[in-house]
Subunit: 762 residues, 2 copies
């Protein structure tokens, strides 16, 4: 059995078990935003393993599998691609291949150092004759040089002199486990193996992305007695076999310097040159220097983004795990990339982009990175506006409907109740524009690009809503809200409310532009073919949007007819019935009152300043007891509102539900990869929930409390050119403006003037 | 180009076109309830063709294909199986193989004689050297001996002496075009070919149905000069090659006597014996005698079931085509069989049984056959009650929910909005019990078997409905009604109304049994574990069932919120938008007010005597203009109600929409097979619609009118031991009691006493 060790900075697997290999492979994933990989073994492992190496933005449009076709379904959907395996090193000890599925071994340890973003492994290999060898492997995917990775692999011979050979290789013959029709997604392009270096270039079918991987190597601690290039499987497998002799007690170390590049960044016909050159440069720089630069980059990330928790090592490990993986997944330097739900940790779910990006992840990057990073996420959607317009056309509606799931702007999902009906995603995308603008104070994105997104999605809403003459209101029929345990409902409060808001925000933004950016305003009007009449229609649709509510209960109604359902609370259910999505048939879930994830409450979070505390209390008290939180995106929103209405224990209890979701394998699916996007929700629970962070009327507001079981906690905020540290302990809240100019903020409804370097204590 | 010739008794294809081959193959299908086949060529045909031979009840559980799995989906679904090809005869003329996809030919004619149920083909084959041969083929699947088929295949040499060889064969190596994963469904068991006879036995995978086909042969008009057994493809292909010499002007005829049997009727290890014996017996009886017995059986069918229409040959051909195929599909002698939507004419749609059987087909068999035939359809459902109970359990509901689509009682469908939510099917199944009992006057099925179906489905309804305290009503949430252009709606009027009726009918039936069949009543109470409290609950749920209506418009509401939709009429749509199911995305269809098929009107048809003419007019006038009739089951119900409310032209116009659905290839899908179940709807349009036939208070009622373009029309009714002929002409209605004792019926609300053999004229 393996043990997952509690540690503030590390994820440590102590001992090995075949059954848990995929689980730990997922946890130990690493990445630099440009590429990433699971915590697979470098040497052979013939047991159960999900091999996974992923290159950002390189995808394959797999043919859709569907039971009953519906008009409007996409025929293909973009799939994250398992790419060239570049970590592989076959290891021969006196001719015996090291393979932990077959060999005897002891002292197994796999350890991800999150501070340095380095994966280390060590074990003692016991050869057939009983002699022992200590093996240590260390690798990192450089955050400083995003095309480069490096591996250090050492073997110490403990019992006797030995012949140790390494075969570092590149393998282009890889598959996706989740291919719908068991197809191979890659074609061979070229490769070459020499004694000094090797490369292999592969091209994806259909999408024709070219990816090249190259490596060079170095051996330390022993003489190389033989070396010979290896080229197998029609060139798809290349490497070099290196023979060494190691005396008893001595250690031989192989360094493998890898570069992986794609034609997304370099010309396709030159990428093998680039890859080879990168690999050679890396070798010249040497392992230590590369590692140093890499650690320095991570130090900067942690400096801005770390959260410390004293007195609760599990919580500390959990939040760092989340911050770590969010940074592995997205580095924000390329607006064509986004945040896949599994990042670089598994294949599951086609596409890379869900509304998770805008509704959850954006908050994290806004708070912990310079604004350009978050802005890249907005630009991504702006770049895909044309495809969103096509998508709406396909469905017979005007304006733009962003896809539910996408890679390149095209819809990747095919469940009619989601693909066609979960249209609230449009509002999250426009809300992100407000969120970014309010937090950063930067109106330039809104005025130059965002306005197009606002207008086109407003056109969608105005066209999608239907005017009900009898009631003199606009209604939105046939939708699925954030709570996917309701399908094809009429007038989902959240959807209507956010459409109303979105239309109104577009009108407001146009007004703002007219006043402050007259030229941009004029250009936008022309570019978009806007008329005053259309803007008036936006305003009218917004003002007459129907919002279901129950006046007696004082709550907003999740949708028309919600109160006709049998009203049972989750607490009244037999525990054996949970989780509903495993225990109940789909129709039973649908007709029940149970809620998968924040729906009305999601609206009260986004439009937080438009509702009173009383309204929040009534809606929270009605909906939370009916919510099963069977989405990892659910608890954080409830936790934030609970904190806001003074339910500190409840806020903490909800925070706990996702704080260690993958580490504790809560959903029994960590094997498939990690829940990257929901990690941002945990960060939000702490910063927006416990910390009470909001932007109100252009001001940063805080209202922290401390969970009872923690000694203290701190987080930093990157805010308008400043770095602010917030520490919360029993003694109260301490604020320190670590970088940037003096600023006024609001702490517990009182204005506080912060001066650089001077602590403020409440 | 082929021409479909207008003819009152025949379907004639004059001329041949490759593009239309599948279409005519479908039209020319034949069957005897036990087996059936498409109108494929006997000789080789290498062009486009859907080869199809089907053995009733022999199915394969193909692995489900699904995009996104939902709890409760079946993993397998039963598929109609293409079985051993038994019609095959390779024909060699001077060594040249006859294959109309490759050879020259003229005078092609394919003709289905519906009166005799015989398929005839003739053409002149032109060999490579230009010499000509007249070829005639004739075959039938015996209605008198349901395991037997016979073929007569003649070649006349017109130009010169010739060597004519035949290779009659059986081919067990067949596939389904619609296999989800391109699997083969059959395994080889055994075969033998001798010069006199051959057989091949195959077994289905998984379900292990064993089917054996055997044949013997006879040659007339020429000497057999060579003969040799053929055994190829590991025994899956067996036959005998027969060489003859034919002088110029002479004709050689091959007779092929086939028997096909399955282990559904005979012991698996003896079926090849049985098949061989049947084939030999057939040969001994001779072709003419077999044909004579077969025609006699069809004469009896036509005697009871024919409808004549004078003055409209297309209408005459259309209705006979429907009557013919309904009888080919179902002969009612085996209650384990049912009526597949494509019968024996194609592969499309898994399963054999939909609610079509009870809602449409039952009326036809009740009116045109002895009651045992219709009763078999009821027994089929009673036999599957246990599986329906399992099905309900799987979905977390009490009682029995019959599957949407089934072969053996297990659900075959996997679209959540249909499979789990189109639960109104339960009511059609119980309604059929009432329909049968009212029409035949036979209460024995109800009292011995039907009561179990009634109670178990009532348990389902009582459990599935939820009590709404605030409104003191029962509601049924999350359903799909007959109108499948609405999914997951609340309180579909039809579903609620039929559930209310069904619960009430169960209570009534128990009361009836208590009074008339006390022993059966007591036994049923015990067998079903009933209590008075449970019966009271049925009554309460029935009486407090919520039925949405709009009092202002005076209509029943299709479902909650229907009037919130944008109210547009079909006549206001651009014609290019139709059919909606091809032109609009699914969500757009769902949120529109457009109706696929009779929904509220279906309820007004089933519960016809419970609504006033005014109510029918208001609901018809509201819903018909919103109905796109994109199900072939839709127009007949509207046509019947239109006739009832005096809209004779509208009734006729609606009748026309399905009268020749397949003959005119209205939906462009006749290639796949025929729409068997909707054929019953056309019969209903004439008998219930134009003829106004109803059962009211135990009496047969008629109220006929004549469509203006017809000279006259007549139909017969098999009714309670009588045969009644109804003729409707300009002069009025003539009734003739052709068989059975005197009876009082109601004609246009007036009682009429009919005496045997004495015509009554209105």
């Amino acid at each position: 059995m393996s043990i997952l060790v509690n540690n503030e900075w590390k994820i440590i697997q102590d001992g090995f078990s075949k059954e848990e290999n995929r689980f730990f492979e997922s946890l130990m994933s690493s990445g630099n935003g440009r590429m990433g990989l699971r915590g697979n073994h470098e040497e052979d492992y013939s047991g159960d393993s999900l091999k996974g190496t992923y290159v950002a933005g390189v995808y394959y449009p797999d043919k859709t599998r569907v039971g009953w076709w519906k008009n409007g379904y996409p025929e293909y959907f973009a799939k994250v691609l398992n790419a060239i395996d570049f970590i592989g090193i076959r290891v021969f000890i006196n001719g015996e291949v090291v393979d932990l599925a077959k060999a005897k071994f002891t002292n197994y340890k796999r350890e991800l150092d999150m501070k340095e973003s380095v994966l280390r492994r060590s074990f003692t290999f016991i050869s057939a004759d009983g002699s022992e060898f200590d093996i240590q492997a260390e690798r990192f995917v450089s955050y400083a040089s995003p095309d480069v990775a490096a591996i250090r692999y050492s073997v110490s011979s403990k019992s006797k002199d030995a012949e140790i050979s390494f075969l570092p290789f590149l393998d282009g013959d890889v598959k996706n486990e989740d291919a719908n029709y068991n197809e191979k997604f890659w074609d061979y392009v070229s490769s070459k193996a020499t004694e000094e270096s090797s490369y292999v270039t592969m091209k994806t079918r259909k999408t024709e992305f070219t990816v090249s991987a190259a490596f060079t190597w170095n051996v330390i601690g022993a003489d190389v007695v033989t070396k010979s290039a290896v080229n197998e499987n029609n060139g798809e497998y290349v490497g070099v076999k290196i023979g060494t002799k190691v005396s008893k007690g001595a250690t031989v170390t192989l360094e493998k310097y890898v570069s992986v590049v794609s034609d997304r960044y370099y010309e396709a016909n030159k990428i093998e040159e680039v890859a080879l050159k990168n690999a050679k440069n890396a070798k010249e720089n040497g392992y230590s220097k590369l590692l140093e630069e890499h650690i320095a980059k991570w130090a900067a990330i942690w400096h801005m983004g770390d959260i410390t928790i004293e007195g609760d090592v599990l919580a500390q490990q959990g939040i760092r795990f989340n911050i770590y993986h969010l940074n592995c997944t997205y580095s924000g330097d390329d607006p064509r990339l986004n945040i896949g739900p599994k990042g670089f940790t598994g294949e599951k779910y086609g596409g890379s982009t869900y509304w998770d990006t805008e509704a959850y992840c954006l908050y994290f990057y806004l708070g912990t990175q310079q604004p350009e990073i978050a802005r890249s996420l907005l630009v991504y959607r702006h770049n895909q506006l044309d495809k969103a317009i096509e998508n709406a056309q396909k469905l017979g509606v005007k304006g733009a409907l962003y896809p539910m799931v996408t890679m390149n702007g095209e819809e990747c999902h095919n469940e009619w109740e989601i693909t066609f009906e979960e249209i609230h995603r449009n509002a999250a995308i426009t809300y992100a524009i407000k969120n970014y603008t309010d937090y950063t104070g930067d109106e330039s994105y809104l005025a130059t690009k965002g306005i197009d997104v606002l207008v086109q999605t407003s056109r969608y809403w105005a066209s999608r809503a239907n005017y009900n003459k009898m009631k003199d209101v606009y209604m939105i029929l046939g939708v699925t809200g954030p709570n996917e345990y309701e399908n094809n409902v009429n007038n989902n409060w959240y959807t209507n409310r956010m459409a109303k808001w979105s239309l109104g925000y577009t009108v407001e933004s146009l007004k703002l532009m007219k006043e402050k950016y007259a030229d941009l305003y004029k250009a936008a009007f022309e570019r978009l073919g806007l008329t005053d009449a259309e803007v008036a229609q936006f305003a009218d649709t917004s003002s007459k949007m129907y919002l279901p509510e129950d006046k007696e209960l004082g709550i907003f109604l999740q949708q028309d007819g919600y109160l006709d359902k049998e009203q049972i609370l989750v607490s009244e259910l037999d525990k054996n019935e949970l989780p509903l999505n495993k225990k109940w048939s789909w129709d039973r879930i649908l007709r029940s009152c149970f809620i998968k994830q924040a729906d009305v409450l999601q609206g009260m979070w986004f439009l937080n300043d438009q509702y009173t505390k009383d309204q929040k209390i009534r809606n929270f008290d009605f909906y939370e007891p009916r919510t099963v939180h069977e989405s990892s995106l659910s608890p954080c929103v409830y936790s934030i509102i609970a904190a806001e209405i003074g339910r500190e224990e409840k806020a903490y209890e909800l925070y706990l539900r996702t704080a260690r979701l993958d580490l504790d394998n809560y959903n029994k699916d960590t094997d498939d990869g990690l829940h990257i996007t929901s990690m941002a929700g945990t960060w939000m629970s702490i910063v927006h929930g416990f910390g009470g962070m909001r932007i109100k009327d252009g001001e940063l507001c805080l209202a922290p409390f401390k969970p009872a079981s923690w000694k203290d906690y701190s987080f930093r905020l990157v805010y308008r050119g400043r770095l602010l540290k917030v520490n919360v302990s029993e003694q109260g809240t301490t604020l320190l403006l670590e970088e940037g100019e003096a600023i006024d903020i609001v702490l517990f409804d009182k204005k506080v003037s912060l001066k650089p370097g001077i602590e403020f204590k409440s």
